[in-house]
């Protein structure tokens, strides 16, 4: 499977985790989108350094070819999925802890 296909599926997977699996529903929270907007800028920077130096080289067969600040656009999809999954887990664990401590 190409990076394009995997990157798109990773977004699908992260959305399923957030909305159905953990039900953290971060995708409906303003705080999430504002955080993501802040991270987006830094994401471009980090991806740009990684591919601009280049520390990582992509095979042209695996990507669409569209690039933003040196990095293939697929990197943005993968980054979004990683961020959403992590924050979804973080919020779920914190929610569980809050529930446990308020029950006692």
């Amino acid at each position: 499977m190409s990076y394009t296909v995997l990157a798109l599926s990773s977004i699908g997977g992260a959305v399923v985790v957030d909305l159905m699996l953990l039900r953290s529903r971060l995708l409906f929270r303003r705080a999430f989108w504002v955080s993501y907007a802040i991270m987006f800028g830094f994401q471009l920077l980090v991806n740009g350094v990684l591919t601009g130096v280049p520390i990582v080289r992509y095979s042209s067969r695996t990507i669409l070819g569209a690039r933003l600040a040196y990095a293939p656009v697929e990197d943005l999809a993968f980054g979004f999925a990683l961020i959403l999954t992590t924050l979804s887990c973080w919020v779920t664990l914190n929610r569980r802890r809050a529930a446990i401590s308020s029950r006692r």
Binding site: S2, T86, R95, S101
Partner: protein, 136 residues
């Protein structure tokens, strides 16, 4: 020096976000067990995918910019990436929460728990048994 490039990039990410913990007081590193647990699912999938991609020739790393330590086809720095970047994400979310406490995230403590940011239950109210369950 060139072989420290990737490591320096990751260090810059940690240094850049350190003020959020130190001065804004987001208390993310203080909840390090919760943090590590949160990083685990994304990290495992990410490492698996990454390792597959290198195997499949989708991308490769230029070892002139790396320490040269390799685990499961991936440079050590790439493993650290999956610790550092998601940590920065958690720090950012908590910083936004800190600046905009009225924007609910969904893990706020239930009514009656007056602790400000939900991560410091009042010790006096809590029976000893409850402490076992606290993941902080």
């Amino acid at each position: 020096m060139r072989h420290l490039s990737y490591l320096a990039l990751l260090a810059a990410c940690l240094l850049g976000t350190a003020p959020l913990e130190l001065w804004l007081g987001v208390r993310v590193y203080r909840r390090w067990r919760l943090l590590l647990l949160s990083l685990l699912p994304g990290g495992l999938v990410g490492i698996g995918w990454d390792s597959y991609a290198v195997y499949a020739g989708q991308w490769h790393f230029d070892y002139r910019y790396l320490l040269g330590i390799r685990l499961a086809r991936l440079p050590l720095e790439e493993w650290l990436f999956f610790l550092v970047i998601p940590t920065c994400a958690v720090l950012t979310l908590e910083a936004v929460r800190r600046c905009r406490p009225d924007w609910m995230i969904g893990d706020e403590p239930a009514d009656g728990d007056e602790t400000a940011d939900g991560d410091e239950p009042a010790e006096a109210d809590r029976p000893l048994a409850a402490k076992r369950w606290r993941l902080r």
